[in-house]
Structures are given as C-alpha cells and as structure tokens.
C-alpha cells in the first residue's frame, strides 16, 4: 500500500478511528490493532512475504529471551550470531543472490573458463532491508545489555511490523521504539496536528518534487548518449531532488503517521542539502541508517580511534557496506566508495565535526562563505548521485564524460519544455520553504506557529492545491527497492 494512494487514504482514517475509539481496552488491544493493521498494510503488496516478517519476528523474540536467560558468554554470542545469520541470511538470499551468481560467472569468464549457472527468479520482498536491520538492532542491544528483552510477543510483533515505518524506515532502534509499545498511548491533540502537518509536507515532497523530477531525470538518464552536457547536468540535479523528495517525503509521512498513533520516531532527514561539508551531509541524510552503521559497524571496528590506516579502513568499510545495503549493483558500491573519499580528508584533518549546528542559525540569510560551502557540498552530492542512478558503471562514466564536455555550456534543450520550467520553479519554491524552516524537525514544523489561523489554513490549502495541480506521474518510492 503506497502512502500516496487512495488505498492508504481510506486505510489510515479507518485504523486511526478504530485505534483510538477502542483504546479504552488497554495497551495490548492498541498493540494488537497495530499488528493487524501492519500486516494488512504489508500484505497489500504480497501477503506471502508476511511469513518472512513473522519468521524474523519469532527468531529474534526467541533469541532475546534465550539470551537473557543465558549466563555463559559463548552461548550468548552463539545466539547473537544465530540472529545475525538468520536476518542477514534472509537479506542475502532475497537481495544479493543474483548479484553474487552473476559476479561469480563473470569472474570465471575473466579467467578463461565458463560456467553455466542460471540466475534465480527472486522477488525482493518490500522493506526487507529495513525490518531486518531493525530486528538486528534488538538482538545486538540485548547482547550488549543495553536493552531488556521483551516477553510481550504482541508488542514485539508491533515493533517489528509497525506499518508507518515498516517498508522504508526510519530504521528504529529497539531502545527507542519498543518501550513505546509498553505504555498505553493517550491522544495528544498538538502531536496529532503536527503529525498531519508533517504528512502534508511529505506528500508535497513526494508528489510535487520527487514525482515531477523523476520524469525529467528518467528522460535524461535514459537518453544520456544523445543529450548535451548541460542537459545531463540538469538530469543529475533533477535526480538529486527526486531522491531527496522521495525518501525524505516518505520519512515525513511515516513519522507524521506514527505521531497520529502516539509514537515518536527518530528524525531521518535534517535538510541535508544545506550541509556545509560532506560529514555534515552524512549526519543529516538518512540519519537512521547512518547512525545504525555508526553504532553497529563503525564503532565496533574501532571508529575514529586507532591509527590513520585503521581510520581509513573503517571509513571505507562503513561507506562500502552502506552502498551495498542500497542494492546489489556495483554502482551503489562505487557511490559508497566515492562518499568515503569525500569524507576521508575531513576525518584525517579532524575537521569532520566542525559543523554541528544549523547553518546560519538564528539568521535568515547565510554568509557568502556558507553559501559557497553549501554549493560545493551540494555539487559533490550531485556528482555522487550519478552513480546511484546509473544503470551500471559504464553508463555512469559515459554520463559523466558527456556531462563534462564542451556542450556543458550550451543551452539545455529540455529547458524548452513547460514541464521542466514548472519543475524548476517548484524546486525553487521548495528550497525557499525548506531554508526558512530548516531549524525545525521538518520544513513547516515551526514555520507556521506564529501565523494567524486563517493564513495557516490558506497555506495548507495552497499546498493541497499544489499537490493536486502539480502532482507528477505516480512513481513507487525509490527506497522500496532497497
């Protein structure tokens, strides 16, 4: 079920009403409604994959309980490895089997022998990369004794399958989300209104920005060999906004929806395109995944402690794994590696934590220096996204060589189209609103607080009309494939 679909527009009010009207029956009842709603939500795509979620849930629930009873360290470690192997095994099988088979065949071909193995016809279950990481965090935190295992199976099911963030995050930590299922939620008007506001802004990001930018980015990337450099540069920029609008839009809708049910999910995007360097970008982009890798991969590897060589190794490890997490394609791995290269100089010069506040905090305008930093960081991201979007590495390199040709300075033919201009204007207005609201959790979080109600409502109506009039061709959320 897509967030920007009629199905969800009917599903959400129905579940919301049921949830709150029946909440007098207690926490367990609330959780049960969430579990049923989440399974319906997920089963809407393919009910067969519900068995995978259930299997993952049962394994980690049992591992958690067994681990808490076990005193012997080696056995506790064994149980942790069982959870890791089951979760990563499922992920590996469904997501990476064909990648390994194809590369295995290619490697043999390079050495002159040929083998015949057919790739498997595997459908990737939606959201598997997200919920497996979420359940893994539970097992690891219990192993580290940061979290008490739950004995409440319904709460655990609700934690694993919580529908707002089940298929594309934020990847919640058990330490944050699971305890919220232990207590009865009571309705909070302010929080619900804020949730609705965040859903609205998420829909704007997805339907106005991402879906329109997607049409243009697709057109340019699919015809890159015949377009001038200027059009290719524009295509890379459109994709940059497509992926941001798409994914952060999804996160906003997820967080907003969770608020309607009395839950607080972590912020997943904090205006990353206003970052002043690449390390700030990575503290603001897909925060739930970045911090997951930081806590469960980077720090256990030694983090930024140790020698420079160890630092380099750890940075590359985390970025390459992050790239590979996104998809079974060398383009993602290259994208990860490129970001590691961007990040390393800052780390080695110990300048990776100099921008921890909001840019131009308390001011409307940024300084020229800040603008320069933002434009430079944004350009690095745009360049890296080319690898992320390209079909394969050859396509990416051809795209880049086409882009950096003399035709980079020609008039891009795509600018002749009305759709392109409308999309560019929408992006322009969007950037302004995001800039003005950059100190909140999302752009229109605090921005409207001081406005009179009439103006506020007029603004909401303008956004809704904007969605209706400017909505692009419906596209599935990009991160569903990851």
């Amino acid at each position: 079920m897509l967030f920007n679909s009629l199905d969800f527009a009917l599903f959400l009010p129905l579940v919301f009403t049921l949830y709150w009207t029946l909440s007098r029956f207690g926490t367990r009842f609330q959780n049960s409604i969430i579990v049923v709603a989440s399974y319906v939500f997920y089963g809407w795509w393919d009910w067969r994959f519900l068995t995978l979620i259930l299997f993952s849930t049962v394994v980690d629930y049992s591992v958690g309980i067994l681990m808490s009873k076990e005193t012997k360290e080696s056995r506790r470690k064994g149980l942790l490895w069982l959870s890791i192997l089951v979760n990563l095994g499922l992920l590996g099988f469904f997501k990476y089997s064909n990648f390994f088979i194809e590369n295995f065949i290619s490697a043999f071909t390079v050495f002159g022998s040929s083998i015949s193995i057919s790739s498997l016809n595997i459908i990737l279950p939606v959201g598997i990369s997200f919920y497996t990481f979420q359940t893994l965090s539970y097992s690891i935190d219990i192993y580290r004794k940061k979290l008490e295992p739950t004995k409440d199976f319904v709460s655990f099911c609700a934690f694993v399958s919580f529908f707002p963030q089940l298929v594309a995050g934020p990847i919640e930590r058990a330490t944050n989300l699971l305890p919220q299922f232990y207590h009865k939620r009571t309705f909070n008007y302010e929080s619900a209104v804020n949730g609705m506001r965040q859903i609205l802004w998420g829909l704007v990001k997805k339907m106005v920005i991402a879906d329109n930018a997607a049409v243009l980015a697709n057109e340019i990337f699919n015809n890159s060999e015949s377009l001038p450099g200027s059009a290719l540069a524009l295509g890379a920029i459109f994709f940059t906004f497509q992926i941001y609008g798409d994914f952060s839009g999804y996160s906003d809708i997820a967080i907003g929806t969770a608020r309607l049910f009395g839950f607080n999910l972590m912020q997943n995007f904090a205006f990353p395109y206003f970052s002043r360097d690449i390390s700030e970008f990575w503290r603001r982009w897909h925060i739930s995944l970045s911090t997951w890798f930081r806590d469960y991969v980077y720090i256990p590897l030694g983090g930024s402690r140790g020698s420079s060589i160890q630092n380099v190794r750890n940075v590359f490890a985390i970025f390459l794994i992050s790239g590979f997490w996104h998809g079974a394609n060398w383009t993602f791995i290259f994208w990860g590696g490129l970001n590691a290269l961007y990040f390393l100089p800052l780390l080695l010069a110990k300048r990776n934590r100099i921008h921890t506040n909001h840019v131009a905090e308390g001011r409307i305008f940024a300084t020229f220096k800040e603008i320069g930093q933002i434009v430079f960081t944004f350009s690095l991201s745009v360049f890296a996204w080319i690898f992320f979007r390209a079909e394969n590495l050859t396509h990416a390199f051809d795209f880049i060589s086409g882009m950096f040709s003399p035709s980079l300075f020609s008039f891009p033919p795509i600018l002749d189209k009305n759709d392109t201009l409308i999309c560019l204007i929408s992006i322009g207005v969007f950037i302004i609103i995001e800039w003005l609201g950059r100190e909140g959790q999302f752009a229109i979080d605090n921005l409207l607080n001081k406005w009179p109600r009439v103006l506020r409502y007029a603004f909401y109506y303008a956004l809704i009309i904007g969605i209706i009039m400017l909505a692009g061709e419906e596209q599935e959320f990009i991160y569903f494939q990851f």
């Binding site: 009629l6 309705f187 008007y189 619900a192 209104v193 609705m196 909401y460 109506y461 209706i468 009039m469």
Partner: protein, 302 residues
Amino acid sequence: MRKFILNCLLFILPGMILFGWFEMRVRQFKNVTSQRVEALSEPASPIEVLVLGNSHSGDGVDPRQFDMHTYNIAQGSQSLYFDIEITKKYLDNLSSLKYVLISMDYHSLYFTHSEVRDFMYSHYYGIRYKDQGFDRSDISLSLYGYGLETSWGMMNREPLQATRGWWGSHKKTLTEKLTAKKAQQRVQSFDKMIEKNKDERLYYLNKLNDFIVELKSRNVTPVFLTLPGHNYYVQALDSSSAARNASDVESLCKKHDLTHFNFINDIGLPDTIFYNVDHLNRTGAVLYSQKINEALNALEQH
C-alpha cells in the same frame, strides 16, 4: 480526539464541497460518448445502419453520406468486445436497425481492451471488460477516470457536437507521418499485440459467431468492413497474419452468408485522403462512406 476529528472534517469540508461540485460537472459533461448513449437509449430509434469499430472506422465512416439513417459508434481503441456488448445492450431499442457494419482490421481479433479507456465504457455504457468488478473511476471520474488535467480542461470548453455519433476529427494529412518507416512502426506495434494476444482469436471468433446469430435472428444483417490503408501500411502488413485474418472473415461470411466490404487492397490512392498511414481523413471518409453507401444500397436491393 473529538476536537481533532472535528477540526479535520472542518478543514476538509470546503475542499470536499468544491471537489463534489467539480466531480458533478465532470460527470454531467456531454461528450461524444454520452451523446451516443443518449441516441442509443432512445426508444424506437430511427437508426438503420450502425457502424462499429475502432479509430479506423471512427474516423473513416461519415454517416451523413448514407441514404439510410446511419449512426457511428466506433471509437479509438474500441475492441470487438465493446462493439458487440454495446450493440447487444441497445438492440431492443434499435427497432429500425437493418445493418451493422463490423470493422475488421488487421488487429481486430487480437485487441482485447485499452485499460485506460475502460472507465468510459463502464461509466457511460455500464459495460465492463469481461465483467471486471469494481473500478476506481466509480468513486471519482475526475480523479481515476479522466484524470484531473483532462477533467479541468473539460470545464473550460464547449462539448464537442457529434453528428450521428461522428465528429471526423482529422481534417488534414500529416505528410510527415506518411512514410514507410512510420507504417512499419505501426504494423510492428500491431504484430506485437497479435503475438501477445494470439489466444484471443478463438474467443473473438466465437463471440462474433454468437453475435451474428443474434443479429440475424432479429433480421439485422451484419456486414464486415475493412477500410483502406496507405500503400506503405498495406505493404508493411505481415502476409501470414493478413491471410489468416482474411480466411477467418471469409469462413464467417460463408457460414452465415455475409458480405465483406473489403477496401484494404485498393491501391494507388492519393495521399490527400489519409490522415496517417492507417487512418482516413475527412476527405477520405466522405469518399469511402459514399462507396460503402453504394454497396449497402446494392445489398438492400439484392
């Protein structure tokens, strides 16, 4: 929570009222299809000749050129399925009906339906493709049928006036589209469809057979019609598919003693009568409608 729900309802109420009004306007908009439905629903309809088919006969048969009262319900991407179901639905009203012209084109036995247009048949004629159930356009014609952009456009224009169901959309010749390459591309798209839907052929032949039996039982004569194509188009047709089509139509004609007005092999036709490689323009429609009229008159006297 009550306050929240109330405020949400109050917030969406103006929008809902506006949208409801918009939806009503879209539903009441008189387009060619709604005009056709009105004509077909008329009890004791004066229609004597009914023209079925897709855009080939939709563009190419001008009812004004006929001596008998002729009505054209052919529509772009209208499959045999809808041709037959629409006619069957209104047969009781068509008490003067003498002839039904069934357009038989290169792809007719293999074209099932156009999903994006199914809502029109469902909304206006009340007919669903193979009785498919619920469609989202039932909830909102503007959102899930026409789409908002088209619906909005409908608000700002006068309804198109069809003459006996026909509005002859193409006046000009698109000379840049009258090329061998365009013809090959067009035929290739049909060939793909034929390959994909090859199993539909028997279904449609059986459906046609039953339809013919029903028409004949009401003293209505079905006549097959194949309009001409540009030379480039005719040359690009796959000979085995064309031969199989010809044989299928011939079998039906023999079995039920029917006539096939087949103009596909007319050669040396001027470019000026075509819109593109497989559609006549208004000039071509007048010319060929007169020919069909003559042939029908001959059949009537016979």
